[in-house]
Symmetry: C2
Subunit: 150 residues, 2 copies
């Protein structure tokens, strides 16, 4: 659960575009939103914002620590955003259906810190993405294979 975000508290003045983008993000916490997703959401449900503003506002949000930016796709390098969860998590991406599961593993987290320390690195950030085929798609695959063999 993500706490209600107040722009002023994050050092951002409350403008109409910023509130709109924030609304779009809050309405879609279940997904990771690309700039285009935000753009289309606002076009349909709210009022249109130019893409340049969507990008700008998302960048401002990222700087203010309101959202996090990721790029999951190994091929197409499209960026997506999500409201920042106070507790960090990693991602597991289904390469078939593009669904994203979030997970947190304290063991890996602490191991990363150890590794960084050993190498004399001052760790500021990290990203761990697991790619694979989700339970649902594994099943679908198995079924379609059966169908073909018949």
């Amino acid at each position: 659960m993500i706490a209600k975000i107040n722009l002023k508290e994050q050092g951002l003045t409350e403008t109409t575009p910023r509130l709109a983008v924030l609304k779009a993000m809050e309405a879609n916490t279940a997904q990771h939103m690309s700039a285009d997703d935000v753009y289309r959401y606002l076009l349909e449900r709210d009022r249109p914002l130019p893409m340049s503003t969507v990008y700008r506002v998302l960048a401002q949000f990222e700087q203010a620590g309101i959202v996090e930016r990721h790029s999951f796709d190994a091929e197409r390098t499209k960026q997506v955003y999500e409201l920042k969860d106070p507790e960090h998590h990693d991602h597991m991406i289904c390469i078939k259906c593009r669904s994203v599961h979030e997970f947190l593993d304290p063991q890996i987290e602490s191991r990363q810190i150890e590794i960084a320390e050993n190498l004399g690195f001052s760790l500021t950030d990290h990203s761990l993405n697991l790619y694979g085929i989700c339970a649902g798609c594994v099943q679908k695959d198995a079924q379609s294979e059966k169908t073909i063999k018949q």
Copy 2:
């Protein structure tokens, strides 16, 4: 140490452009090479190859398992390639000097497999990038801070 690569063994005919790109990669195992790095290397040391061919050949190499593609940069999403190491490794990137350290941690590796299993995922791949400031840059930072304070 990476074994000498034979294109034919990888199912690729030995053409001049492919050999040139391979040579460029083998001559620069210390760095991760962008398509542009390869392009410039060949322009200077060998014979020019059009960018489209560089990209194409690198893509063929990736498919054949000769190189691996990564995108380290959190901001600019530029892709880089490296000759594929038979044993997988992860990356630690210095956000100051852009240097990349490679590391391998069996504990994290096996934990990833466990996590995937628990979530019903069939794991095909993963990427773990640690971002931070390397030992060298930490020192430089400390020094320049001292200078400023004087």
